[in-house]
Symmetry: C2
């Protein structure tokens, strides 16, 4: 197997994880948790979201959290920004990077953003331009790359259309999302073959969900295609918004177990990660789906 | 990716699954369940175990189950046989194949079989010879191939030593077990590189546990090495004997989801499998770890 020597993990738990949990985590607990994450060796943390609190009340304290965390210079602290209103709030803080998002499928985009795909471009274009002007880098998320909960199959041309438009706006990295966790490794290979014809691998990240247990197999397929950036959520926080009770986000702890076991460096200290994982599990007050946490809970052997 | 067109799944849930569940499933329920499995398109079912009921009371009805199931000619019905006493009981039935087992690591073999590795060979040799004489094919299991709960790392030479001895006895297939679910894809590649120097791929099966979420990634690595036979347990039945509460056996339903999605034929009908999965979940009376079952329970979309 031809595999990279090192991988960058983009921790999205504080945003993508918490926004899909029903419980409101106290602001100070969020701050403490992000501070713990900053000590694990992570180089990227998506801290919160500036989507209107009406839609995501769990993250209504976005400004406060971003202002209060202890920042490390080696870490990029990012936040999701849906529109100019969100950007205004984001710019009250010293966030390093803004993330914009849209879907590759019309129905999911409509349900999520209430706009057509082509109608979303001008909104994001304005956000990206304004962010760049403020010296913030911008990351783009494309959802439903491998399947849509409403439309099923998503043609690769739809993925390329959205990706090209986002790169033209000036994003520096694109995260390809398997929003509903339906992807398989062959599909990952096929999609990446096309995407890599247009964009270099160092501008791409993969965002897998483990809804059907295939996330790490899809990571393996991506590694073999030269991908070196992966989004994940500590403890598997977040679940699946389309299948409540089912696994959602790939757990950072499980991703690191596999990568480090394969000799692929992540720079992350598993013991500190485990503590941060247990911290948020206690606050969420339910067992998180991470396999590493399950094994640790069992404590039969280390 | 260079992948096989079809794969054979060896369903081990009725044996490896049930032997690790605390609940005793009624004999008639076991029979009904195996009969349902026979209708799914599976070509191999490990039905039960002839380990002494003192050790595995859950399967004390082995003779009765094997005698009462409705047999299909297209299916191999197998059972685990630890020694000559077990074989005597097995031969009261018309079992097609006997499975013998031992570990690649001394401590696990001692804990499990109460014999050294070299002390186990004569016992199994007698069982294999007697089985072959009765026109039963024999399958060999090697446990702890990728790691031992007591010793940690297991040298490849230990795996080869046990494998060679089992093949010399006359087994027709060897199943390589990641008993505690610690394997990663790079390790799978490295182990298979060595094993495939000695034995052809069509004599090998992989038996992965999903304890750390890596089972399907390990399947993918194995497929790329030319392996076309995989053991799995419906619904992920069985858990992990070394980490109670954690995932154990790879779930047949999840394996099939990935393989069929990749265009790799298994011959198994997912809808019938789901029903059989729900049947045994209701009898076990707790949610099984299969991701496919989780998604189905959520029933947000199909």
């Amino acid at each position: 197997m031809n595999l990279p020597n090192s991988v960058t993990i983009k921790e999205v738990g504080p945003r993508d994880g918490l926004q899909n949990e029903k419980v409101f985590i106290d602001t100070q607990d969020k701050i403490d948790w992000v501070n713990q994450l900053s000590e694990t060796g992570l180089s990227y943390i998506e801290v919160t979201s500036f989507v209107h609190p009406k839609w995501i009340p769990q993250l209504k304290d976005a400004v406060h959290v971003l202002k209060q965390i202890k920042r490390k210079k080696t870490i990029t602290y990012a936040a999701l920004v849906p529109n100019m209103k969100g950007l205004e709030r984001a710019l009250e803080t010293d966030v390093d990077e803004c993330s914009v998002f849209m879907s590759a499928s019309e129905s999911h985009n409509m349900k999520n953003i209430n706009k057509t795909i082509d109608g979303t471009f001008p909104v994001l274009n304005e956000v990206v331009a304004a962010s760049l002007k403020e010296n913030k880098t911008v990351r783009g998320y494309v959802s439903t790359v491998f399947g849509c909960p409403y439309e099923g199959n998503v043609p690769i041309d739809a993925v390329l259309h959205v990706s090209e438009n986002l790169f033209e706006m000036g994003i520096s990295e694109l995260s390809l999302g398997d929003t509903i966790g339906v992807a398989n490794p062959r599909q990952v290979e096929q999609v990446l073959e096309e995407v890599l014809k247009r964009f270099p691998s160092d501008k791409l990240a993969m965002h897998f969900h483990n809804t059907r247990g295939t996330a790490l197999a899809n990571v393996l397929a991506s590694l073999q295609m030269g991908i070196t950036k992966f989004d994940s959520s500590l403890g598997g926080l977040g679940g699946c918004p389309y299948a409540p009770g089912a696994s959602g986000n790939l757990a950072t702890d499980d991703l690191i177990y596999m990568l480090e076991g394969m000799g692929i460096t992540t720079g992350i200290q598993a013991d500190k990660l485990l503590k941060a994982s247990q911290f948020i599990e206690a606050k969420i007050n339910k067992p998180l789906p991470s396999h590493s946490l399950q094994v640790h809970r069992a404590t039969c052997y280390s």
